[in-house]
Symmetry: C2
């Protein structure tokens, strides 16, 4: 396309954005209009993509980190001929694939965006997959806003991609000067952005984002830059092309005042269809391999051994990595603690050190999984809180993402509360569609890791710092959604439900109770989500009383998960929820469990109180 | 002190760090040893602090962003004469104030650290309080690690402080090259850090961090630099001074192998006491004023009016701001949505725009509250997930922090799931000691805001985007921990429990049920934490069956909070928990409530099913 045609295409994209938002009665046309020329030139001259085959491995990747510019993205799809007028005008209505912010309900969307600061990091992950794993000459193009440059996650991404020399990544920064409620920090000072981004090892190019020739040159320069990613910092105008909203405060996130007039001002409705460049030749590509391979000989531990579940995780991960070439591992500079270091030594080509940048670690993993790799990412359980928003967004992406949190709970001991994951179960339970697993011994850890590898979706595995005795034989099965009844009799007066470290405390309590003539059922609820509703209801019917014990705050964890099994009209049992209530300090692991009231002694006392209250039916 | 004395003091700090960690059997002596000379020069020559009066307004602020160097901090306290040998050697033991990472259990600690990437932002908040609010000539000194420069939150802080020209803030970066499991990204390339930090508008100084004269010069330069903060980027050696661990991998986070030998190598135990410079003269200082002032005339709304709770929040906040000069407000570039914009107009000197950087927003607030100001910070409910770790850490700091999340739930409508806060109740319930409030109408919002202002601790207020009818009269009281029974009779067959938008759905359902001869109790559980255990237990006894309805995922929110009222052995009622189960897309607010199964129709059906199951006692 020549310059005039490109300018026309830009106007078409603007018209369609205005049109879609007007039909919806909401949306972000002005944030779309600023980037329309940038995207017109990308679509018509640089993006290599077969829109009829979104899974083509030679396709470039396109991410709208400024996800609120969704109308522009959908206008691009219309220009590429894969959505039509009727669908465009279904924007933001019930059932439409064209949501307010892009999600992978559309086959061309790699990951959901809309929470600013996410997309560039995912672009880095996609670029990494292409460059390091797949040997595919594809590029990742990421449209960023200027407002989102305030998010620290963007700078994690700049540092990550610069350090990894991802020259197949291009950030296109739409500097339209205006945020939601007024001017951004740096307004049109594109040099301020260039200084910062350049300092992180990027090639930076400042342009007028409405000059199609300059845009074309910049994209060409990005394509030929070697050894570092490129950021194109484009000065633009929000609402460009419509006088009523152009470069105007108060015009964010709403339809333009008079859509018909605006469309006329933009030259009316057009229907140019763009011949998009074909995908790259990927003959030499290495494809990710399904995680569901043949049988794996997991590490086996003898009963009675003291083994930390984090150690068993590390050993099993390394073995699984040998049998599953699609498995990749990321760590946040704590691999000697999480124990991903063995995998790193055995499979260095599939291990990615993300340093202490948990958001970027999740973003990288999101990029890798979007290409079919199966990522496991690990850090301390406490530090997943850093990436909470990215994990939330991963659920909207329907991502296949496995996260592992070590050093969970007060049982870590002396390091104190800043290092204790005491809210991780609450965090991960409230992630849509998640699986939350919490093993208590080494064999169970290995088995659950294998289950998690084969499961598609967001999974969380919680591991423990200190050693715990092996209680299960090697080879025992632990399906997701299951539980294990460790003590049971027909005379049980109370059920003790535990997971992880508290399983061992529960067993000790049950033994003392039994010695005292109070038979207690013990359930190892290793699958905190989904929860084994059937086993819990059976135990409630049999015993009428539950004690739950968890190394976690009282809110949102195991106890709440147990109660949720009775949340659809079933009669719940009486229940004592033992959990961490007071802010811990430093102390030994044993002192911590005791102080928190989740050790065998506390469980025994709670069970005894409930059993004593039992009335004959 | 002369150079030799300073070097001696550095050695004393090293010895004490080695000694404390050896006594504890754990801890981070090597990370303390790298920064010992830096802190010796600071303590002896630059820090202005009366350790006998930690609350003195003329004291400088000292933050260990690398909180794991706690042994060094405690060694400084010993050198300042405020802790003694016995307490130093209680490091990391049960009951000791000297926790594994610093917390405000020690009166000289402003905020808890230990989660890397937090301290610099808090330092910026402290510097901001001094410069903009208090007119106090004090400085904030922040000791940072090099590993933590990978955290995006650090770059939010660099951007924030650079943009705000906080020349009373100094970052002292201990570039000891080694992270936990090996070398950092940039090793000893201090120029790489200087380029990046300088690009964010800071004055940067690269020095040898073991040259006491160079350190002294750098601190002097920082003190005299105007208009921009200073970063002193100090090349150091981890484990400096002990050959067995100096600049050695694998020596992180553990005592040195032979403490006696190491102490001898460092010159033996010393007991130099440092004469610390006195506090600054703060005669012209403006002190924060207690939030508990006289009566406030809150905005009043007439029953039946449609008002968004976010709008009522904004109006009440502005009014409260007039009556409470200690109240300060922060927003994440969405003040026109959260409605803090009215406060910003009325009280511009106490409003702080934080742009889209939620972690820095919380960090700034943490710094402000540490100085006695009462900060309210607001963004969309969904985006608090960005700051989850900082909020978690705020609880360890026993902070007085009020956060407001607007646009909660599916009821926002068309924008789609990326903008819906559907996990915020789970997040905030699992914050230690938090208060979680969720008003359903405008008068209740204003009253709860006043309650929250007077409450000391971490509080969360959840507001709604769309209008809801005013159902409470102006002036009604809503104590924290309370609830309101909106419908009740002696014949109630079921209790419907709701909060926020679902209260109105619950009332509609109850009216339909009543018309059908099924009296239902309705409870407005506006205080999601603490929960009104007494009212819930009374309702359970009276009706035996609960329907809970919440605009939130099923995990960790209102339903779980209700069940928790029965978690200490009381017989819980049968319960149907209505919550969001499927991933929403775009749709109108009404369609969203219906699709999620939390509208009046769904509540009515669930209540009918439970009431129908009711058996005579």
């Amino acid at each position: 396309m020549d310059a005039k045609q490109l300018r026309d295409l830009g106007q078409q994209l603007r018209v369609d954005a205005v049109h879609a938002a007007a039909a919806a009665g909401s949306g972000h046309p002005t944030s779309s209009m600023s980037a329309a020329d940038l995207m017109a030139v990308l679509l018509a001259g640089h993006l290599r993509y077969d829109f009829t085959m979104p899974g083509h491995p030679g396709n470039d990747r396109l991410i709208f980190s400024k996800g609120h510019a969704a109308p522009l993205l959908y206008a691009m799809y219309r220009a590429a001929g894969v959505i039509h007028d009727t669908e465009l005008l279904s924007f933001r209505t019930l059932g439409s694939r064209l949501e307010g912010h892009p999600t992978p309900r559309l086959p061309w969307v790699e990951v959901a965006t809309g929470s600013l600061g996410l997309g560039l990091g995912v672009g880095a992950g996609l670029a990494l997959a292409a460059a390091r794993l797949e040997n595919a000459p594809v590029r990742a193009w990421v449209l960023c806003g200027d407002s989102e440059l305030a998010e620290g996650s963007m700078w994690e991404a700049f540092e990550y991609a610069g350090y990894e020399r991802l020259d197949n990544l291009t950030a296109i920064i739409d500097v339209n000067r205006l945020g939601q409620r007024g001017e951004t920090r740096h307004g049109w000072d594109t040099a301020a952005y260039a200084r910062r981004i350049g300092a992180f090892g990027w090639h930076t190019i400042e342009i007028d984002g409405h000059d199609v020739d300059a845009i074309d040159d910049a994209f060409t320069a990005a394509e030929s830059t070697q050894g570092r990613p490129t950021a194109i910092i484009a000065r633009t105008m929000k609402g460009r092309g419509v006088a009523a909203v152009q470069d105007t405060e108060g015009a964010h996130g709403k339809p333009v005042p008079d859509a018909d007039e605006a469309i006329a001002e933009l030259g009316g409705i057009r229907s140019v269809q763009v011949p998009v460049r074909p995908p790259h030749d990927v003959a030499g590509r290495r494809a990710p391999v399904s995680p569901n391979g043949g049988p794996v000989s997991l590490p086996a531990y003898e009963r009675g051994q003291q083994v930390a579940t984090r150690a068993a995780f590390g050993e099993a991960l390394s073995v699984l990595g040998g049998a599953r070439p699609g498995l990749v591992v990321l760590d946040g500079e704590v691999s000697d603690s999480t124990r991903t270091d063995d995998f790193a030594r055995q499979h260095p080509d599939r291990f990615f050190e993300c340093y202490i940048a948990e958001q970027q670690m999740v973003a990288t993993a999101l990029g890798l999984q979007a290409r079919g790799w199966v990522p496991f990412a690990a850090t301390f359980a406490a530090f997943w809180t850093r990436a909470h928003d990215f994990i939330r967004m991963a659920a909207i992406s329907r991502a296949n993402l496995k996260l592992v949190g070590s050093h969970a709970g007060v049982s870590i001991g002396q390091d104190g509360p800043s290092q204790m994951g005491l809210e991780d179960l609450a965090l991960f339970r409230a992630i849509h569609g998640s699986v939350v697993l919490y093993p208590c011994d080494a064999n169970q850890t290995a088995a659950l890791l294998a289950e998690l590898t084969a499961h598609h979706g967001i999974g969380y595995l919680r591991t423990t710092r200190g050693g715990t005795p092996v209680i299960y034989p090697p080879g025992e099965r632990f399906p997701i959604g299951g539980s294990k009844v460790l003590r049971a009799s027909d005379a049980d007066q109370v059920t003790i439900i535990a997971a992880g470290v508290t399983v061992h405390q529960a067993l000790a309590a049950a033994d003392r109770l039994a010695a005292d003539g109070i038979p207690a059922r013990v359930i190892d609820l290793y699958s905190v989500k989904p929860v084994d509703t059937q086993a819990l209801r059976a135990a409630a019917e049999a015993t009428g009383a539950f004690v739950t014990a968890e190394d976690h705050w009282a809110e949102g964890g195991l106890g709440d998960a147990v109660m949720a099994a009775f949340a659809n009209g079933h009669q719940p049992p009486r229940m004592a929820k033992l959990a961490v209530h007071a802010m811990p300090g430093s102390a030994t692991p044993e002192e911590q469990l005791h102080a928190a009231g989740i050790d065998a002694k506390a469980i025994e006392a709670a069970a005894r109180a409930l059993a004593g209250q039992r009335v004959a039916p």
